[in-house]
């Protein structure tokens, strides 16, 4: 070994490692508490007609009014705002969680593709609900179409060299094109706010959508927790994972299906066009400064949460769309992390 060996370059960073770890765990803990609080609200709203839950819900409402008085806002008294915030907070947890694997598998484009597939799903949902009078959820239809899209993506990638992006790109724009055709065909049938699904809007979130996001979040967290080891191995060294007899195809499928689930849930507040950003940007920021993969996931969730809360503050304060506000906040954090890591931009998508 000659010249500059990277071996003993940064021993000086060791002493504050304990402090750093404590701060990260505290951040993750606070995020978990906030997420649990939001899930609690969604459940109470659902169960508000039941005796005990009704009292708790009333207490929650008066807490919200108290917050409005304290902050001089007109936000927290409205249940719909809490629903939107709940969806946002949950997206801030699950998107970076799934994104940590997606980004390092160089599959960032797949999140974008699945969002556009889900948009076609929303379009189909609008058509189905308006023409049959079936009172189902648009998001549920989008979820089914999104998962089907995920399986198609998986099928395509298994049959092309590495993650050949041409079939994926065709699928991305193709499903969006189909979505626009369907919406145009069904124009005037419903008063559904398509712009809300495109750009993200706090007002798009329905109680049903919030409940769906709650359930999906639990599925995603459980899925990642159970398959963490396998997903990590496959992401880091797919061939060695295959030799170690891991079911690589199975776990790849799990990953794209979890991505589809996150995308459909996140579409409500982020919008189809911006949804992939939450999968990618917090993870990119975390990867700039993380000292291990576990730390990458912790930081990505913390950054994701900060982006959502910061974005909501901007969105509510200035009356701007939530999706753009959240993504711009996330990118600001990413830029800060580049500064924090001494301007060394890491090429995460280094093919080969």
């Amino acid at each position: 070994m000659s010249g500059e060996t990277p071996a003993n370059a940064d021993d000086r960073s060791r002493p504050d490692r304990g402090l750093r770890r404590t701060a990260e765990l505290a951040g993750v803990g606070i995020t978990a508490l906030v997420a649990a609080w939001m899930l609690g609200f969604v459940l109470l709203y659902w169960a508000q007609d039941l005796p005990v839950a009704g009292d708790l819900y009333a207490a929650f409402r008066s807490f919200g009014r108290g917050m409005d008085v304290a902050l001089g806002t007109n936000v927290f008294r409205h249940p719909i705002m809490w629903q939107s915030m709940a969806v946002g907070v949950l997206v801030g947890v699950v998107a970076p969680l799934v994104g940590s694997f997606l980004v390092h598998r160089e599959m960032a484009l797949i999140g974008e593709t699945l969002a556009h597939t889900a948009f076609a799903g929303v379009a189909i949902g609008i058509l189905v609900t308006s023409s049959t009078g079936w009172n189902g959820s648009l998001l549920l239809v989008a979820l089914v179409v999104g998962i089907l899209g995920a399986l198609v993506v998986q099928w395509l990638t298994e049959r092309t060299e590495a993650y050949g992006d041409v079939p994926i790109a065709i699928m991305l724009s193709g499903s969006f094109a189909v979505g626009t055709l369907i919406i145009s065909y069904g124009d005037g049938l419903t008063g559904v706010n398509i712009q809300g699904y495109l750009f993200g809007n706090l007002a798009v979130v329905t109680p049903e959508g919030a409940r769906l996001m709650g359930a999906l979040s639990l599925i995603v967290v459980a899925g990642v927790a159970l398959a963490y080891k396998q997903l990590l191995f496959i992401t880091f060294d797919e061939q060695a994972a295959r030799v170690a007899q891991l079911n690589v195809t199975g776990y790849n499928t799990l990953l794209v299906v979890l991505t589809a689930i996150v995308v459909v849930g996140a579409m409500q507040v982020l919008g189809v066009i911006l949804v992939a950003a939450m999968l990618v940007v917090p993870v990119a920021a975390a990867s700039q400064i993380a000292r291990s993969f576990r730390e990458t996931m912790y930081l990505a969730v913390i950054f994701g949460q900060l982006s959502v809360i910061g974005g909501f503050a901007v969105s509510i304060g200035l009356g701007l769309p939530s999706g753009g506000s959240i993504v711009v906040t996330a990118i600001a954090i990413y830029l800060a992390s580049i500064v924090g890591s001494g301007f060394s931009v890491k090429a995460i998508s280094a093919h080969g």
Partner: protein
């Protein structure tokens, strides 16, 4: 002697291009097999066939005495791919996290036990990178990276190490140290299959040589390979032989 890998009349094509044609060979327990041949001769394909990463078009492959498609004891094989060596990705994974992956085949869906963690620590010490355990793999030098991957194989209690050009981009000094480590592991009873473009390194270390260029030109002990014309035949007149002496 037990056969670790047994190939019988194996043929494999990518579309219309035949990569491996009618290869039969056996790797015995404790062998150090050097797999040599010109660029594009099907070395990597042959190794992938042995490990079950490709299915042969014709012929049969047995791994540890079982048909390769039924083989399920992934912990017995440590594999270092060509891609892993040259991987320039920025995925933040520490040496310890990387080596711990070697235990995943054993732990299955469950949590890692104290014994798993001890095996990881042992493996890291064995390859001599104890002081690098908390560093990111992406920050290591080529030689250090190799050691991390070998440690991963050791942590899995592998009794077969399969290495695909492990020292590409590694400086000469680290490479010699790395091969000394491979020798030690082989002396401890681990079977080694090594693809290496530098013929000199292979003939210095391996006790068996398989020389292929789509077809098998030679399979036998190293002495008979050095004396034979297999090398010249396999490389043809246009092939370029890399041959350094150390």
């Amino acid at each position: 002697m037990t056969a670790i890998v047994d190939l019988d009349g194996v043929t494999f094509s990518y579309g219309d291009t035949v990569a491996v044609s009618d290869v039969s060979l056996t790797v015995e327990e404790g062998d150090f097999l050097g797999l040599v041949g010109p660029n594009g001769s099907g070395k990597t394909t042959l190794l992938h066939l042995m490990l079950g990463l490709h299915e042969p078009d014709e012929g049969s492959i047995e791994l540890f005495g079982r048909p390769v498609d039924e083989f399920d004891d992934g912990g017995r094989i440590g594999y270092v791919s060509q891609k892993a060596t040259s991987r320039g990705g920025a995925m933040p994974v520490t040496v310890r996290e990387c080596v711990t992956m070697g235990r995943f085949a054993h732990a299955g869906r469950g949590r890692l036990s104290a014994a798993d963690r001890a095996a990881v620590a042992d493996a890291i010490e064995t390859v001599g990178i104890g002081d690098l355990a908390d560093r990111l793999v992406s920050e290591l030098s080529g030689g250090q990276k190799q050691r991390a991957y070998i440690a991963r194989a050791l942590a899995s209690d592998a009794d077969l190490l399969a290495l695909d050009e492990p020292t590409v981009g590694v400086d000469a000094e680290s490479r010699d140290a790395f091969y000394a480590l491979l020798d030690e592991l082989n002396d401890d009873g681990i079977t080694v299959i090594l693809i290496e473009h530098d013929i000199g390194v292979v003939t210095d270390r391996a006790n068996r040589i398989a020389c292929i260029n789509t077809e098998l030109y030679h399979h036998g002990d190293t002495e008979s390979f050095v004396e034979s014309d297999a090398l010249a035949e396999a490389y043809g007149t246009t092939g370029q032989v890399v041959h350094h002496h150390h």
